[in-house]
Symmetry: C2
Subunit: 325 residues, 2 copies
C-alpha cells in the first residue's frame, strides 16, 4: 500500500464538503490504491456537527481512509498537508453588502494563507472553492510568502463542466464528445465561457451551433447557472461543486488529457494582457503537477471585451481588500 | 464502451439519493468503464426539486452518465431496469404511530412491487433502503409474482459497516483488518450485530475484546447509531447510507471477497430456524450474482435469543401489513 497523502478540507461540516469527503475517502480523487488522511477544519461552533460527519465517515469502513483529524485551528489542519480544498467561506448574510462579504472572507483567507505558509508542505496544492473564490485565493497566496504562487488555484471547473454540458445538450452529443471549451476570468456572473476553440467530435463547435445561441443563450446560462440551481433545488449547488473540485484537483495532480485543456483560475502572468497577479481563469494544461496557461490562442474583439469585464471586476475586488495583501 | 446498464433510484430528490446519484454516475458502483442510464422516480410534488438535481448531474459532464429519465410513474421508472435502489419512503410524521408508518409505506411498496413485476428485467436486483426496509422489501417481493424472491434484498450493510467500525476503533486496527462480522435480523433497533465469528487480523475478535464490551457497548451502539448521528448532525445518516447501498449492490453484482462475508437482509429459507419468507439479515456470500446464506455457523443461546427478538419484530410487522401480501 502507498504512503497516505494528507488532504485538508475546510468548511468540513458544510454541504459541499458533505458531498466531497465521502468521495475522497472512496478513492475518487487519487484512485483506489491511495490511502488518505483527512484534516478537517471547521469553525468552533460547527465542531459538534463535524463530529457527526466523522461518525458517518467512520461508519463507511473505508479501506483507504487512514486517519481523520478534526480541528478549529488552521495551523493544525494544514500541518504537513499535500492538498487543501478550501471550501469554507462566509456566505452572504441578510443586508450584507458585497463589500462586507469580500471583507469578512478576506480575513478568513488571510489567516488560512498564513497557516498554510507555516504548516503545509512546500508543494501543497491549494484549491479555493469558497466564494469569492478568485480573490480569496489571491489573499491566501499573498499571505503565504514561503509558498510559490503556483501553489494556489481557484475553482472554475464547475463553470467549465457547465459549458461542456450546455454545448453537449444543444448539439445532442455526449459530454465526452466536447473538447477545448474554456472559461475566462472570475468565478462570478462576469465569467466568460468561450467556445471559439471548442470542438464537437473534432469539428469546430461554432460551425455546428449558431453564434447567436452562443452569445445570447450559452453565455448567460452558464453565468447564471448557480442561481438557476438554487431556484430549482432550493439550495445551492453542492454535489456538482464537489465533483468539479475533485476533477480540478485530480487534473492538477494527474494531468490533462492529450489534445484537451481545462479551465482553472491561476495567478496571471500577463498572458492575453490580463493584469499580472490577479487569480484569473484561463485554459490550462497540466503535466507532472505543473500548470501551464495555454498560449497563442486567437482571441477576437468580442472575446477580449468579455475577458476585460471580468478582469475589471477582479481588479476592483483586489482594490477592496488590498490592505490584506 | 460497454452497453449502459439501467439503474432506478426512488426518492431521487431526497438526501440519501443526493449522496448516491453522483457517485453512481462517477462509476463507484460498477467501475469506470460501465456507462449507466439513471431512472429517477419521485412523487409529483418533488419533481421540480428533482429537476434541480438533474441540472447538477448534467453539470458534472460525467463520461459514464448516458441518459437520465425522470418520472413520477413507477412503471416508467422501472422499465427494463437492471438495478433498483428503493430509497424513497415516507418518514414518520408528527403524531404518527409505528403502525401508520408501516401502513403508508406498505402501500408505496405494494405499488412499486407491482410496477417492478410488470416493467423490470427478470434478473433485476432490488435493494430496499427506505424504512421499514425489511418489511417494505417483503411487500414489494410479494407484489411481484413474476420475479424471483431472490431478486429482493433490504439493506443491512450500513449496520454491517458500523459493526466493523466499532470493532476496529475498539481494537485500534484498520477497518480492513476486521472480517466476518455479521448483523442478524431487522434493520431496526432490534438488529443483532454479532462478532462471535469475527476475526481481527486473523485472530478471534472475542479473544481480543471483552465479552462485556461486546454485549453492553457494541450491540447497543450499533443498534442506536442512527439516532446518535441525528443527534450529532441534526440530520439522519445520508452519505454513509449511500455508501452502504453502493457496497451492498456492488457486492451483489460482483461478489464477496474470499474468506469473508457481508450482511444482507434476504428472504429467509428457514436457515438458523428463522421463519421462512421473512426478509431477514443473514451473513451471506455472493458468487456470480447469486446470494447464499452462510450455513453451519455455531450460534449460542445468547445469539439465538437476540436473533429471535428481531425475528419476532419482523413477524409482527408482517402481521400488520398482511392484507397487502
Amino acid at each position: 500500500m502507498k504512503t497516505p497523502v494528507d488532504i485538508a478540507v475546510t468548511g468540513a461540516a458544510g454541504q459541499i464538503s458533505y458531498s466531497l469527503l465521502f468521495r475522497l475517502a472512496a478513492g475518487e480523487f487519487l484512485g483506489d490504491d491511495q490511502p488518505i488522511n483527512l484534516h478537517l477544519l471547521e469553525i468552533t461552533a460547527a465542531m459538534p456537527a463535524l463530529e457527526g460527519v466523522v461518525m458517518e465517515l467512520n461508519d463507511c469502513a473505508y479501506p483507504l481512509l487512514n486517519r481523520i483529524i478534526t480541528t478549529d485551528d488552521p495551523k493544525v489542519a494544514f500541518d504537513n498537508i499535500d492538498y487543501a480544498f478550501l471550501v469554507g467561506a462566509r456566505p452572504r448574510g441578510k443586508g450584507m453588502e458585497r463589500k462586507d462579504l469580500l471583507q469578512c472572507n478576506a480575513e478568513i483567507f488571510s489567516v488560512q494563507g498564513k497557516a498554510l505558509d507555516e504548516a503545509a508542505n512546500k508543494n501543497v496544492k491549494v484549491l479555493v472553492t469558497g466564494n469569492p473564490a478568485n480573490t480569496n485565493a489571491l489573499i491566501a497566496m499573498n499571505n503565504a510568502p514561503n509558498l510559490k504562487p503556483e501553489n494556489f488555484t481557484a475553482m472554475t471547473m464547475l463553470d467549465h463542466n457547465r459549458t461542456i454540458n450546455q454545448l453537449a445538450e444543444k448539439s445532442g452529443v455526449k459530454a465526452t464528445d466536447v473538447k477545448n471549451v474554456m472559461v475566462w476570468g472570475n468565478h462570478s456572473s462576469t465569467q466568460y465561457p468561450d467556445i471559439h476553440h471548442a470542438k464537437i467530435r473534432g469539428q469546430d463547435a461554432l460551425s455546428l451551433v449558431e453564434n447567436d445561441w452562443f452569445v445570447n443563450e450559452l453565455i448567460p446560462t452558464v453565468q447564471q447557472r448557480g442561481a438557476a440551481i438554487i431556484k430549482a433545488r432550493g439550495q445551492s449547488s453542492a454535489a456538482s461543486a464537489a465533483t468539479a473540485a475533485i476533477k480540478q484537483m485530480r487534473t492538477w495532480a494527474l494531468g490533462t488529457a492529450e489534445g484537451d485543456w481545462v479551465s482553472m483560475a491561476v495567478p496571471s502572468d500577463g498572458s492575453y494582457g490580463i493584469e499580472e497577479g490577479l487569480i484569473y481563469s484561463f485554459p490550462v494544461t497540466v503535466s507532472h503537477g505543473e500548470i501551464s496557461i495555454v498560449q497563442g490562442l486567437d482571441v477576437n474583439e468580442f472575446s477580449l471585451e468579455k475577458m476585460r469585464i471580468s478582469e475589471q471586476e477582479l481588479h476592483e475586488e483586489k482594490e477592496a481588500i488590498k490592505h490584506l495583501l
